[in-house]
């Protein structure tokens, strides 16, 4: 065993980051402050499923402290795609299954973002959000996927022909043969709650254009920083080399 191995193998080791975290010196996403930083806030859907008939941001724009208000059509001036690519094996899931960057004609869940507000602080951004008027036409929501699979179910999204995007069987070994030989066959339905990453630190992202305007620096409370960088580059048609992306926690 060499000296380094002797130091760590089989030994209790304390973490090196703890002293800073314990005295409040940790830098979490909301601790990042850049001079002149703006704050983004979204107007989000109040319905589980609805058609968006109109969006009126005129009052919100007049609020002092509001820098900009964007809908999907505004963002499409710089974006290559209007949908976020989900982390699914490429080609397996049709584009229509991917969530929209911002909803434009239809909302598919409560909280789906519709309008992006940029303001000088979070309080004002939320004030502006209250002034945005969205006219919804409520539609039937499909909330139980088992019911949604039945042929008589409503469509969860008007743009699709079916609520089933992909049908996958996952198995191991030659079931027919083994089951054919088995003395007993037990069949059961198991319920597993939906796994959601839910850390205490809320999700966030800070982005700034670097001096020279050739690149961006982005901080994100994410574990998938390389995927995030690649996705942003793809969406904005950037080269990955123009990016600095730091994982904050």
């Amino acid at each position: 065993m060499n000296a380094i191995q002797a130091r760590y193998l089989g030994r209790r080791t304390k973490r090196i980051e703890d002293p800073d975290l314990l005295v409040g010196k940790g830098k979490y996403i909301d601790d990042i402050k850049i001079p002149g930083m703006m704050h983004a806030y979204f107007v989000r859907s109040e319905y589980a499923h609805a058609r968006i008939c109109s969006v009126d941001t005129s009052l919100a724009r007049k609020l002092p402290g509001v820098e900009a208000i964007y809908t999907l059509s505004d963002l499409m001036q710089v974006l290559r795609f209007d949908r976020l690519p989900l982390a699914f094996p490429p080609g397996k899931l049709s584009k229509i299954a991917m969530p929209k960057i911002l909803a434009s004609d239809e909302v598919l869940y409560v909280g789906e973002p519709i309008v992006l507000i940029i303001a000088s602080d979070r309080y004002i951004a939320e004030d502006a959000a209250e002034l945005v008027v969205v006219d919804y036409e409520e539609l039937t929501a499909v909330v139980d996927p088992r019911k949604g699979l039945k042929s008589e179910s409503c469509l969860a999204s008007s743009r699709t022909k079916s609520n089933t995007f992909i049908s996958m069987m996952v198995g191991f070994g030659d079931c027919d043969e083994e089951f054919g030989r088995a003395d007993n066959i037990l069949s059961e339905e198991f319920y597993q709650h939906r796994g959601v990453p839910n850390p205490m630190e809320p999700r966030g992202l800070v982005a700034t254009v670097n001096p020279g305007k050739e690149s961006l620096s982005i901080w994100a409370s994410s574990q998938l920083t390389h995927e995030l960088r690649n996705t942003i580059c793809e969406m904005l048609n950037f080269l990955p080399e123009t990016f600095g992306l730091l994982r904050v926690t």
Binding site: D18, V23, Y28, Y123, I124, P199, M200, T249
Partner: protein, 164 residues
Amino acid sequence: MTDQSEQISITATFNGKEMTAGASARTTLVDFLRHKLDLTGTHVGCEHGVCGACTVLVDGLAVRSCLMFAVQAVGRQIVTVEGLSSANQDLTDIQKAFWERHGLQCGFCTAGILMSLEEYFSTEGNSYSEDEIKDVLSGHLCRCTGYQNIVRAALDIVSDRTLK
């Protein structure tokens, strides 16, 4: 903070130092601490009082700073996680116990818990049982540690300070 409404002058003692800064009436204490005074050690989690990440000491009591307005702090003694250790940043015994016992992982909930334990260990008349410690900690959510090591760290303090 550039909230356009009228600024109220707030003077209070923060971590032993008297400080004055302005804020609008609706600015929460946690936002005032984090953005006006640059004391970012206190964190914002749920903004409705259930997660405990924003817990600070106001006149010695652990309270939710997301549920107080900065204007309500006028004239009071506020202590945040930055005020626990001494000027040269030596860790307190409670902080050391957390380090020893692996009582934190991402660290986001830690500051709030340290404040609650600071109040607890500064108060008379406790039983210092494991149940009581868990009762103190029940006002905090932690998604990383599973709480056991935090309880162990607190019990270490009980024995180190010979409280039982």
